[in-house]
Symmetry: C2
Subunit: 420 residues, 2 copies
Amino acid sequence: MYALDPLFDTLKAAQSRLALETRQAKDRALQSVMDAIDASRGLLCKANEADVLKARKEGMREALIDRLSLDQGRIDGMLQGIAQIIRQDDPVGKVRAGWTLPNGLVVEQWTIALGVVAIIYESRPNVTVDAFSLAYKAGCAILLRGSSSALASNRVLVGLIKQGLAAGGGIAGAVALADSGSRDEVEQILRARGKIDLVIPRGGKSLIRRVVQEARIPVLETGEGICHIYVEPSADLAGTLAIIENAKTQRPGACNAVETLLVHREAAAFLMPLLAKRFAGTVELRCDEPSKQAIGTPPPGLVLKDAVQEDWETEFLDYILAVKTVEGLKEAIAFINRYGTGHSEAILTNDLASAQAFSLQVDAACVYTNASTRFTDGGVFGFGAELGISTQKFHARGPMGLEALTGIQYRISGCGQIRV
Amino acid sequence: MYALDPLFDTLKAAQSRLALETRQAKDRALQSVMDAIDASRGLLCKANEADVLKARKEGMREALIDRLSLDQGRIDGMLQGIAQIIRQDDPVGKVRAGWTLPNGLVVEQWTIALGVVAIIYESRPNVTVDAFSLAYKAGCAILLRGSSSALASNRVLVGLIKQGLAAGGGIAGAVALADSGSRDEVEQILRARGKIDLVIPRGGKSLIRRVVQEARIPVLETGEGICHIYVEPSADLAGTLAIIENAKTQRPGACNAVETLLVHREAAAFLMPLLAKRFAGTVELRCDEPSKQAIGTPPPGLVLKDAVQEDWETEFLDYILAVKTVEGLKEAIAFINRYGTGHSEAILTNDLASAQAFSLQVDAACVYTNASTRFTDGGVFGFGAELGISTQKFHARGPMGLEALTGIQYRISGCGQIRV
């Protein structure tokens, strides 16, 4: 029935010890984990091949097979992530603020580890290492609940992590894999009030919906990205084309890829023909009437469709771009705040007032001026890795690194003060 | 069915406008709210008398009647709270961190208003003003769902707030009272995904449990306080007695009042007889065997009982103190982390190492050294007011002031950067 309870207890006890570790000790343990993974690449690749083989047999789509697969380059990437986390400051033990009350009491606000966290994620085995490393550095114990498709890879990874921790004087009990594969396991995690301080779902819509519905513990929601780029007439034309192409095609399956282009009426006439030419043969355009008119005669090879309402509400994750013409900044902002998912939104402009208003009024985790939306990523932001990208405003927002795993504690020192 | 939907929409629209207000404009509007309340004290007192009369008729306990009642002094307190919130810095529009990526992109982490918040609270009409003022200063729209017992008072208060906002050039739509009194109203609030960004339950256990169970939106839990004071032999004796008495008797119904005393075995012999004498006739002691032995012959008038397991798990909110003898710091910390509710915990000692270890290892929102636990309060901490005291570690912890109503947004500026 409550099969995970002993595991929860072990994690909690380990977290109490981990919270007292120095940065030196935590970094040494993480270095040792790097060494353990590096020394067993063959073992890891073999387990991963078994996962991939099984997934292929079961008919998994190639895009997902790609997410599941590890190669030497991806293992290098994992290790670089740990190295970058090692280089970062300890996020706990900081005094964020402090002041003295009129009666002489000193109030300090310290950062502390959030406690025991759980992550429920799909497919990608690198998340196992990323999430563990961030948690360990932040002094949090972590329960990893990966997908059954990555079970062999995750078992080897968690084994190597534990082996590395043990060898490096770390606390091996601070990480655990929930690997029974049963859905009941997820239910136990979501109801573990007082045992798990936070759960992070990282995966598709239905996983996130289930977690939000069923959780009785705090949830850090990661969400889909219907991202927009809004182009003003004052934007640099060559830069605009390069940014739109990059945001759409550099990795269309990523949540920070652009899905809808909002083009100012006055920019459509010169931008759309060039964009149509650039995307002919690669990206399908779903245009509203004015942007379609602006294209004129479609260049050979361009797939051009009429946009319908559903296109504004869809995260394509594919070589498809919806295009809408707007009358100006106000309409663009309103459209984004209506159809956006609060992920990453960009304005391309040379108008300072527009750039400022866009930043202030667009309600999203990441707001860009004159850059591709593809930069929303913990690694790119310098966090070493990420737990996911929060699209909610509560507790953490945007790419979540070490800071998202901390809380605060007030420490108050006196010399006998009583309240009168 | 969804009677509150139009209200949610109004709040959201008002919040978008409020988020763009300057600190000057927000402070001016809050000053005008102060003036409006101050000018209508008579009206407010009359409505409150009606609430109190009705509550008495319905047999409400005197302690709750007291919480419900307003008088000139309490109205003064409300107004002082607003004045202190006006004096505080604007919590939004701060750049908390900023850095430049290797490719030249500038990443800034800004503080922003959390959005539309709802508070579901019991009895005390001053919460209406406290919660509104904090929310307004933080740029949040607020939906107030008070108890039916305070309905007349809350209606007048919210009317005066709106009147003050209108007169002071503020945004009157940024506050609303959910006043139908139906339980269905609470359900609508708890399910308002995408419409309400945060709900704060402030009241008894059953209210908080219901909110945690049913909410599909982020919850900021406030909780009960089973607070401890741990006394070491090195503690100053006179100070110790004064602190224990203050923490227990200055307002026993408060969540930050002490409920259990942990006394070091070597301190019991001299402390317990004096404490028994001090509490004879006022505070009932529920002692474990060694602390009872230490008292010796009970002084006249002392109510002395044997402590039972349940006493360690009870928030008495009364003139009752449980007493347990411990062998030392380690046992005290373990006991607190087991039976405490993560609220306010104190150590009385002159031993530096003990004080440090206690602060590091006790898992609570507020950890005190040599002071009464009664100071855990937004007003005392200098926040002007509080939304409640968070006993969870997620998003906000301890007394919640303006900071608890903020989130972050990344603003990224470039000059054409694309991801390679």
